[in-house]
């Protein structure tokens, strides 16, 4: 027996790519409108936060959340959506694992402000101003929200039921979410908690180059601009860092189809806690074993050091969900957050 669903969609610190991914459904958005009432969608409807607050807890079937948490308002929205919805979906890499802007966690918020308002080449700031939470202008007072100490993925604040991975989620993932909603409306059946709406295997399993792998030691690392890689062969075996082995599949190996290595936007492959740490550990034991002589002086003993910027490359999309997930002040103790969440910090 079928019934209409109630659906709530919202965004936090996001680039808009997730919204475009939904928009790229095109006429299939109308299928969504046939099975669900959208009770909250700030980018597309005029329902207010107060309307969502007025609904009873658990009265919305599915909440879809994109973007990472960078302000207290983002955290409030996440908690509110969690309370009102039976199922909560982390949509896109930022909500699922922090996303690329999570690299900001390598720095303190102060350093980010210094760069933006003092150190950048074209900045003109003779009075050493900063954007202020309150500033007086001739006609009155203007306010700005403050930045939080670090970027958090959704599940550091609220338990997540399902994850739609990707930056942004590509068509197969969005289609699968549409299928989940259709099934929920039709039969009431829902995927289990923790379900990820993508493949249950690492990207390598679906990579068209998988058959080319020899399984032997890897060469010393090269950087993507330094070589013209063979478009048929495994990129790792050509010395290019590729996150395929530790990244969940389901995208169709899109980047590989244009001869570019995976940077891990689908997050950890099943069973991995910290994909970047796992990959670094693996590479440390197999990289450049037979090729020490090719390495520059001083790096021969540590061939894995031919990998430049391991933090920014291996944690490209997942730093805020990693074991060590942000820069911590010396002497600040445990490194937990500001007490904003109910989650797993």
């Amino acid at each position: 027996m079928s019934r209409r669903l109630k659906l709530a969609i919202t965004w936090a610190g996001a680039c808009g790519g997730c919204d475009v991914a939904l928009l790229d459904l095109g006429h299939r958005l109308l299928e969504l409108a046939e099975i669900a009432d959208i009770v909250y969608w700030p980018v597309a409807t005029d329902f207010k936060r107060s309307d969502l607050k007025a609904l009873p807890p658990g009265s919305v079937d599915v909440g879809v959340f994109n973007g990472s948490l960078r302000t207290s308002e983002h955290v409030e929205d996440a908690l509110l959506l969690r309370e009102r919805c039976r199922y909560l979906v982390a949509f896109g890499a930022c909500a699922a694992c922090g996303g690329l802007p999570g690299l900001a966690n390598l720095h303190h918020a102060d350093q980010i402000l210094d760069t933006a308002y003092n150190d950048t080449a074209s900045t003109d700031n003779p009075d050493d101003l900063r954007p202020l939470e309150r500033s007086e202008v001739l006609a009155g007072t203007l306010t700005l929200p403050a930045l939080t100490d670090a970027i958090r993925p959704l599940d550091r604040v609220a338990p997540v039921d399902w994850v739609a991975p990707g930056c942004p989620p590509p068509e197969p993932v969005v289609t699968r979410l549409l299928g989940v909603l259709t099934e929920l409306a039709r039969s009431g059946e829902a995927p289990p908690t923790g379900a990820v709406l993508a493949a249950d295997t690492p990207l390598c399993e679906e990579c068209p180059r998988a058959g080319s792998r020899s399984g032997g030691p890897l060469p010393a690392f090269v950087r993507p601009h330094q070589v013209l890689p063979d478009p048929e062969r495994c990129l790792l075996e050509q010395g290019l860092v590729c996150l395929g082995p530790v990244t969940r599949g389901g995208c169709g190996a899109l980047c590989l189809t244009v001869n570019m290595p995976c940077r891990g936007c689908f997050g950890a492959a099943p069973g991995l806690l910290d994909p970047a740490a796992e990959l670094l550990s693996t590479l440390g034991s197999v990289a450049a074993l037979d090729h020490e002589d090719e390495l520059p002086q001083g790096r021969r003993l540590f061939p894995v050091r031919s990998l430049v910027d391991p933090a920014g490359t291996l944690y490209r999309f997942t730093l805020p969900s990693a074991l060590v997930w942000r820069k911590v002040e010396e002497g600040s103790g445990t490194g937990t957050g500001t007490g904003t969440g109910t989650g797993t910090e």
């Binding site: 720095h107 003109d124 910027d309």
Partner: protein, 489 residues
């Protein structure tokens, strides 16, 4: 102090924005501000990253204009090594960028601009959006608009791996060549894209010719802003997107600067203001004069209308004829009417479609030589393109290993920061009188802002329903009156 009117959120521009309108004791507008209330810190966390990764990192700034960031970053990395890319790579990047800007312009016009421009003024809010268009324009046309935008996305996906966040442009060229089958697919899409683009332009021109209210809105004083304009032009002074020199014209249209984007620091600076996270770019030659209009002010505009104001001509025939019709309507170049940005966008759309068709037919496009490996010592570089919303500058510096030491980004929407503030202030001042604030008036204030196409406005309004808008009137005695109204797209 009088009242304060807050419009929040107005719409999104690479994050979140708020409009604050202050009323004096007589209820007239004392001042108005557009605030950008978010900062993500790309300029900081890119430091320490390998420079060749930038074309994959910087598109994440904006999911609506990622293609422009992709190409600007790739050009900056080319410059870091001083590498000349193969002709096929150049053609592929140009084709990709043309499809990208076409997708953005299509979405903006039909999802955002058209409901204000072609629907009768008394259309109720629930039909004053994309889904209200079929009643006036016909269902077939609206579906074709969505389908053709999808084709523009598809072209980007074919060339760069992903239709939203592209990956294929690298220092030295492109990571992968285009095969014949996919070229044929793009060529077929181009025919449909061009046919629809000219149809969309015809539609607007016919409306302007037959609807005196629309014509009056276009030329109205509430939406007129006199500033400098800036944009890329090629060697002949034609409109350019992928490459060129930045030409700056004064409010009378006289050229006051023409420079290589690599020299942008000699010409542009960004002022920090305490009331917004978005800095305010201005012309250095004029000095910081604050957010003011006129030829003595350093305020300048970018985006479609500014590009047509600086360009002498357009290289493709259909768009050139359309450009001449636009300037004939307004009585010459430059045009300072804010709502003319919508018209200029459609003129550009025709040009971009003509460019997609030309490039898809160019034999070089399927050449297998799409990359050279850069050599030598990396140093610094600037990459600039015309994004849908205006000139985009990426400036990077590296250490001898090509690790980023400094990054500076001037984005299109940022350069219109001052102009958007002025446009909002001017529209509010002429429309809000005696404390009378109603939803229709506020929508007309917002129209001044929307014409600049701040990022994500398009996605915001493409869907059924209405965008949120909250209006808070702050009385001097502390009382707050909250109004809410549907956002009428």
């Amino acid at each position: 102090m009088g009242q304060k009117v807050t419009i929040s959120p107005v719409t999104r521009l690479e994050g979140h924005g708020v409009i604050e309108i202050f009323l004096d004791d007589d209820g007239n507008v004392a001042d108005a501000y557009l605030q950008v209330v978010e900062l993500r810190g790309f300029e900081r966390f890119c430091v320490g990253r390998p420079v060749e990764e930038l074309p994959r990192i910087l598109p994440k700034i904006c999911g609506v204009c990622p293609g422009a960031h992709h190409i600007a970053a790739a050009k900056a990395t080319d410059a870091v090594w001083g590498v000349r890319i193969p002709p096929a790579a150049r053609a592929l990047r140009e084709l990709f960028l043309a499809a990208h800007v076409a997708h953005s312009h299509l979405l903006h016009f039909f999802a955002l601009a058209a409901p204000d421009l072609v629907l009768p003024a008394d259309t109720p809010p629930e039909r004053r959006n994309l889904l209200g268009l079929p009643a006036v324009l016909g269902k077939e046309l609206v579906l074709e608009a969505l389908a053709v935008r999808g084709l523009a996305q598809r072209i980007q996906g074919i060339i760069a791996g992903h239709p939203i966040h592209p990956v294929a442009a690298v220092p030295g060229g492109m990571a992968f060549p285009l095969d014949e089958a996919r070229r044929d697919e793009i060529a077929a899409a181009a025919v449909r894209l061009l046919a629809f683009s000219t149809r969309a332009l015809d539609l607007l021109e016919e409306r302007v010719a037959t609807d005196p209210d629309l014509a009056a809105l276009l030329v109205g004083e509430a939406y007129r802003l006199s500033t400098h304009c800036a944009g890329l032009v090629d060697e002949q002074g034609n409109l350019a997107f992928y490459d060129g020199r930045v030409r700056v014209v004064d409010p009378d249209g006289a050229e006051v600067a023409r420079f290589d984007p690599a020299d942008y620091l000699d010409h542009l600076a960004e002022r920090v203001v305490p009331w917004s996270y978005l800095k305010v770019p201005y012309l250095k030659a004029k000095g910081w004069q604050g957010i003011t209009e006129g030829s003595d002010s350093g305020v300048y505009r970018v985006n479609a209308l500014a590009r047509l104001n600086v360009a002498d001509a357009i290289s493709t025939p259909l768009a050139e004829a359309a450009r001449q019709r636009l300037f004939a309507f307004f009585g010459g170049r430059p045009v300072h009417q804010t709502l003319a940005f919508h018209w200029a966008r459609l003129v550009e759309l025709v040009h971009l479609a003509e460019e997609v068709q030309r490039l898809a037919a160019d034999p070089v496009i399927t050449d297998r030589e799409v990359r050279v490996v850069p050599s030598g010592r990396p140093t610094a570089g600037v990459g600039a393109v015309e994004a849908a919303r205006g000139t985009l500058y990426h400036h990077v510096e590296t250490d001898p290993d090509g690790i980023l030491t400094r990054v500076n980004l001037i984005v299109a929407t940022g350069q219109n920061n001052a102009a958007m503030n002025l446009a909002v202030r001017k529209a509010a001042t002429s429309l809000i009188r005696g404390g009378r604030v109603d939803p229709t008036l506020l929508n007309r204030v917002e129209m001044a802002f929307r014409a600049f196409d701040p990022c994500l406005a398009c996605a915001t309004h493409a869907l059924p329903g209405k965008a949120p808008l909250e209006v808070k009137v702050h009385h001097s005695d502390g009382a707050v009156l909250t109004l809410s109204r549907p956002c009428e797209r």
